[in-house]
Amino acid sequence: MTPAQLEVQIVAVVVAAACAIPGAFLMLRRMSMMSDAISHTVLLGIVLAFFVVADLRSPLLIAGAAAVGLVTVALVEVVNRTGLVREDTAIGLVFPALFSIAVILISAAAGDVHLDTDAVLLGELAFAPFNRFTLFGADLGPVALWVMGGILLINVIVGGVFYKELKLATFDAGLATALGFSPVLVHYGLMGMVSVTAVGAFDAVGSILVVALMIGPPAAAHLLTDRLPRMLGLSVVIGAACAIGGYWLARALDANIAGSMATVVGVAFVVALLLAPERGLLVTGRRRRRQRWEFARQLLLIHLATHEDTPAAAAESRIDHMQRHMRWQPDFAQRVVQSAAERGLVTHDADRLYLTESGRNAARVASVA
């Protein structure tokens, strides 16, 4: 592995970690699509700030972009508050408009700005090592690493200091308000975090991967745990793993790095969806199947117990009667009887079923419970 490759992966991991923290809260607050909106509109902030300072490397660009991110949130709220359109429509109106202005401004100033709309959407992480941060002639590593490292630090500090407020406002906004925490402040604080992170990550990985890294890992982590601290930690780990996995996938396919990382995020989510220990589709599917058999067996036992020692017992205990009575398929009925027999709950001769002692007990337990 060359130093450049290592640097690309380190930058990617830092981006993933920085995105996961605000992303987790965004997802829990059911505002995931705001990450899509903000990651598009920060482009307008970058362009406008560039027109003012005329330097693509100025830190003011981040400030301008973050400000436009907040403007996006505020505009959505203004449109929403008119009551004339619904919130999803408000988001769907505001961010394409702001993004369109940015794209047109860029193409209008194409000669002066070395901003490429494609690069903005797609990002080109492979170039990150070429843009070095030098201080007094000393090479201190890629600029992107410093920028994203700083943003990660901010996110960790803000997330740590305001953890209680964020948690409370996310899970019980009413209680948070009653206790005197301003939900508006928490909302805009989080959106500010999202904006700053989106701008920083934007340059390195492109706006779409920002969305993937903000929402994908937390969504996967959400399937794996019920505890917020563990979910945050898992989000960071999953995001970092996706970043590294995506990098090597891109190398293998000779394809766009950001796109590969997003693809790997999708794979990671599907894996979590299928294999999560308690909520995974595999586990729940197996549980449901087991419950179905168990229920069928209990039904059989209760039926037999009800008619035991009655004149109709002989007729009611015939195996083929189960098919008609319970509307079971012949095959299914056969297998239920078989599994009950295997467990020593019933015995049978040619076509009649008898409860065993333990079967009788099981029927009693099942019908009482």
Binding site: D36, L84, L93, D118, V211, G259, V265
Partner: protein
Amino acid sequence: MDVLGDLLFDYTLRTVALGSAVLGIVSGAVGAFAVLRRQALLGDAMSHAALPGVALAFLITGSRTPLVLMIGAALAGWVAALAILGIVRASRVKADAAMALILSVFFGAGLVVLTFIQRQPAAGKAGLDRYLFGQAAALLEVDVITMAAVGAVAVLALLVLWKEFKLLSFNPDFAASLGFPVRRLDVLLTSLLVIAIVVGLKTVGVVLMSAMVVAPGAAARQWTDRLGVMVILSAAIGAASGVAGSVISTTAHTATGPTIVLVATGIVAVSLLFAPRRGLAWARVRAWRRRRLLALETVLADLAALSAQHAHEPDHAHHVAALYAVRGRSIVDRALAALAAQGLARPGAGDTWTLTDRGRDRAARAERPHDAKAGAS
């Protein structure tokens, strides 16, 4: 500059304008339902998700025939919609997160395929990147014909199943209780949305196509409360923004998608502000009128109360200072001017005011609205 002449006789411009009109009509008509059904963001997710479909269709068939790419895009968009629904149904992940996830993952996968294609030496790969932001100037006649044919199918389906879709949009539970296959209708209407998105992809691009299914519907909604009118209006607004935007972009050489979206957003802004009844500007005017009327009634009542203190001398003139004592100066001044204009009060010498007979009547009625009603009945 003779845009009208160019529209008729310039081949490129005519193609572009026709294509954008088709795109606007289809996305406007179908989008109206999306707006009503709160699917604005689903449209966004699906249009981003169409990218891998376009790229894969090209990679597999090696063809750039519009229909092939459209089918690829539609399949990808459709799979994305089903994936979102599936995730929401099968897990605790909410719809917003499912949409953001599918949107970014599909788009990322599309980028992978796209860069993969670009690094191949195959001929004819050019032009696929236009699907990001759209390029109306690249529209060919065959594009427009395909768009029109595919779009016509969607609009026709909308007309044939009008009653069902209407019911589904406004009251799905009632539709289910009447025995309509709500699930299948839901999937079908969402599929029409996919088709509408796909029709516009080459012109507007995957990034902004969602705005074209949202904006015309949102604008049309402000002007009417009737679904039929709304859909027709939405289609017209879509067509108008499509044509205007693409003509501007072709003559000014801006990216087409953003230009069309800005025109459509402008129409939404005008609608939100000035549409009769719902428009914000009219709401302001109504509020201002109400405030003025209230001020007038209040000052009238003040004057009546003052004159009640001089029961034997109804024409007693009251100094305006007495009114200033109980109300704000500007309110009193404006209300007095209005009262005088309506002949309810008249000014006297030295800043004094007296109620006229009509003014006294009106004040008495305002004070005892129930008596007035009883008298009338």
